[in-house]
């Protein structure tokens, strides 16, 4: 066994914090950041260029035109019905979802016992992770027959007899696939997003505000309406807009249940269509370079613009309050 001596590590000039490495890393990070912008720009440009022949052919009328006729030789395209269908189904979904989401958030932040908060919060987040095609299938096999049998057949005539708003329920479409079914399915899909945002912003209210109100003898409801909601109002609206943004672009689940008819729905039980459904239904069979494909690109571009504004608005409303 030989004797080994332990040598101290050589002491040399300390390596300068790598000039080159830092530069490369910085360039790569910048590249990654810039790539996102370029990608976004490229998608917008591709959609616009793809849609250009349709915009040129139909002009601004493309946006409100209600005819969608892909038959060769008599092609005529207008996005009016699908834009209207997209907006009405999403807004109805918000109307259905917001009260429930508020209830969930209120329960989780104020009423729920401590041991229930975590599992319930996780369950809501899991609901957000269910793939949309699952909601579509569930919608088609459960919601549609339910709406048809238990709502439309059961109360349709009575609802239609209500003065002034009766027309909203009067329909000759008895298939159950309708604007109403689509809104219900959409509402359930966006519910977890809105509920999670509301819970988070309600939690951000400084406890001292709430405690002061309680100290003055306010009830829970008074604290909610007098302190929490005024404090978080704008962020709540931002969360709702986030849900709206998701509802606007939802494709498969809506396609299953909305009826896909290019007609304006005058009643909740009428079938109509959305931009995303039209693209999903017709794109695979459209010939490249045809006016139909161009019109599909053009409505894709319009959907992009609408979603962009909704999301930008939600970001603006949800921006950090403390500067």
């Amino acid at each position: 066994m030989s004797v080994t001596t332990i040598q101290a590590p050589p002491v040399g000039a300390r390596r300068k914090p790598g000039e080159l490495g830092d530069k490369i890393f910085q360039a790569m990070c910048m590249g990654a950041g810039g790539f996102v912008l370029i990608l976004l720009g490229a998608i917008i440009v591709t959609l616009f260029l793809g849609g250009l022949p349709a915009f040129e052919r139909f002009g601004a009328e493309f946006i409100w035109g209600t005819v969608w006729d892909p038959v060769e030789g008599q092609e005529e395209f207008g996005a009016g019905v699908s834009i209207l269908g997209t907006l009405t189904s999403s807004v109805l979904a918000i109307i259905f979802a917001v009260p429930v989401a508020f209830g969930i958030a209120f329960f989780l932040t104020e009423l729920s016992p401590q041991w229930l908060k975590r599992p319930l919060g996780t369950a809501i987040e899991l609901l957000a992770a269910v793939p949309s095609i699952i909601y579509g299938m569930w919608g088609l096999f459960i919601v549609v027959p339910f709406v048809q049998m238990n709502i439309q057949f059961a109360f349709g005539d009575q609802l239609a007899a209500i003065p002034l708003i009766g027309f909203l329920f009067e329909s000759t479409n008895f298939a159950g696939t309708s604007l109403f079914s689509a809104s219900i399915v959409l509402a359930i899909m966006i519910l977890p997003f809105i509920a999670a945002t509301m819970r988070d912003v309600f939690d951000q209210v400084p406890p001292v505000y709430k405690e002061s109100a309680y100290g003055l003898g306010a009830t829970r409801w008074e604290v909610m309406t007098g302190v929490v909601i005024p404090y978080t109002r704008i962020s709540v609206v931002g969360g709702i807009m986030l849900g709206l943004g998701r509802a606007l672009g939802e494709t498969m689940a809506v396609t299953f249940v909305i009826g896909n008819a290019n007609r304006i729905a005058t009643s909740l039980f009428d079938s109509t269509t959305t931009i995303a459904s039209v693209i999903a239904m017709e794109f695979p069979e459209s010939l490249s370079g045809s006016l139909q494909q161009s019109a599909l690109f053009a409505i894709g571009f319009l959907l992009f613009v609408i979603s962009f504004f909704v999301l930008a608005l939600s970001r603006y409303l949800l921006r950090p309050r403390l500067k």
Binding site: D69, P70, Q148, A175, T177, G259, N260, A261, M281, L287
Partner: protein
């Protein structure tokens, strides 16, 4: 055993199949893309041809439009389409078209108490229903035709395919044929402007819509209707007879069509003949007439594949509820292959089944 020899051993274990493979490596691979309607039969043929003709087919059912786009761009060996191209379109894209099998479209209804093949409909009634102008099933025009069955008094709901499809192409061609008003109005195509009804996705969507809605009527592929035991109807054909959607009526339609037309896509809708089912259509394959040098082999193997399928695959096609073509039609297709498809040197690529 040291690390290196272990590495060498495992490497040879991985490589062994690759070294042994050349003995079987003669199998040719062809790629095709297009219509989803004939996918089951092409898949069945592909599974059998792997052994029988030593050709492996990779078929992607991306839709007829996609198939036409892909073969026009020459990214696949053959394209497949339900709606045939016209001679002008074929010439423009340098493509050759031939039929493989036929399919038919049937009407399915949901009328409580009405059995399969019981309800009789005339072209006039069908037109009125699909225009949305016939609103209740106990309309005198329907009742008069169906004295022997009890027709309930419920509203009519129309179901159609919302996704662009060859089934819609066939059905709207039929509607355009039986009604001048339909021809000049909604017209015919893979998707049209429906005057009434609800759109659903795919055959399964339409059949689900019909099953769930009392009083609903919709069109689906016959294969789908048979497999799912849907309630289908009789239709009065051009000869004035009420025909049932059964195999004899479809075969009669296939036999009546004149396949010698230039684009090999004869009119098969609403043919005259005593027991012809009026909505029977072919599904087609597109091959380039001028394949580039390195695609010549793929073209030849595509023709070998379909030649093999024509000789050995008719039984399988019938089992899947498709209608095989007659052997005269098969021979005609082989002759046309020899005439139409040339390699870059101008020689015919197809030189017979045994080449």
């Amino acid at each position: 055993m040291n690390r290196r020899s272990l590495l060498a051993l495992s490497a040879s274990a991985i490589a062994a199949p690759a070294i042994l493979r050349p003995a079987f490596a003669q199998q040719a691979t062809i790629t095709g893309a297009g219509a989803s309607f004939p996918r089951p039969v092409y898949d069945r043929w592909a599974a059998a041809a792997r052994e029988g003709a030593n050709i492996a087919l990779n078929y992607q059912s991306i839709g007829s439009g996609g198939g036409i786009n892909q073969i026009t761009a020459r990214t696949v060996d053959f394209g497949a389409t339900d709606a045939p191209l016209t001679t002008a379109q074929l010439t423009e894209r340098n493509l050759f078209q031939f039929p493989t099998v036929m399919g038919s479209v049937v009407l399915t209804v949901n009328l409580p108490g009405v059995q399969n093949h019981q309800l009789r409909l005339t072209p006039e009634i069908i037109t009125e229903i699909f225009f949305g102008r016939l609103n209740r099933w106990n309309d005198p025009r329907i009742v008069e035709l169906n004295r022997d069955i009890r027709i309930p008094n419920i509203p009519v709901s129309v179901g159609y395919r919302a996704d662009a499809s060859g089934t819609t192409w066939a059905w709207t061609n039929y509607l355009a044929r039986i009604s001048e008003e339909w021809r000049t109005g909604p017209g015919s195509g893979t998707s049209v402007r429906w005057p009434a009804g609800n759109g659903a996705r795919g055959n399964e969507g339409v059949s689900n819509l019909v099953r769930n809605t009392p009083g609903a009527i919709g069109y689906v592929e016959n294969a789908y209707a048979v497999v799912n035991r849907l309630i289908t109807t009789q239709i009065r054909n051009k000869a004035g007879n009420f025909v049932r959607p059964v195999n004899e009526s479809f075969v009669a339609a296939a036999g009546t069509a004149d396949w010698t037309v230039e684009n090999m896509a004869p009119d098969t809708i609403d043919l005259a003949g005593a027991n012809v089912w009026p909505i029977t259509v072919g599904t087609y394959i597109l091959l380039p007439t001028n394949p580039v040098a390195d695609r010549v082999e793929g073209s030849r193997n595509s023709m070998r594949f379909f030649d093999w399928a024509f000789r050995n695959g008719s039984q399988a096609a019938s089992a899947l509820e498709y209608i095989p073509l007659s052997s005269q039609t098969h021979d005609l297709i082989r002759t046309r292959w020899g005439q139409a498809i040339k390699d870059p040197q101008g020689r015919a690529i197809w030189t017979g089944s045994n080449a």
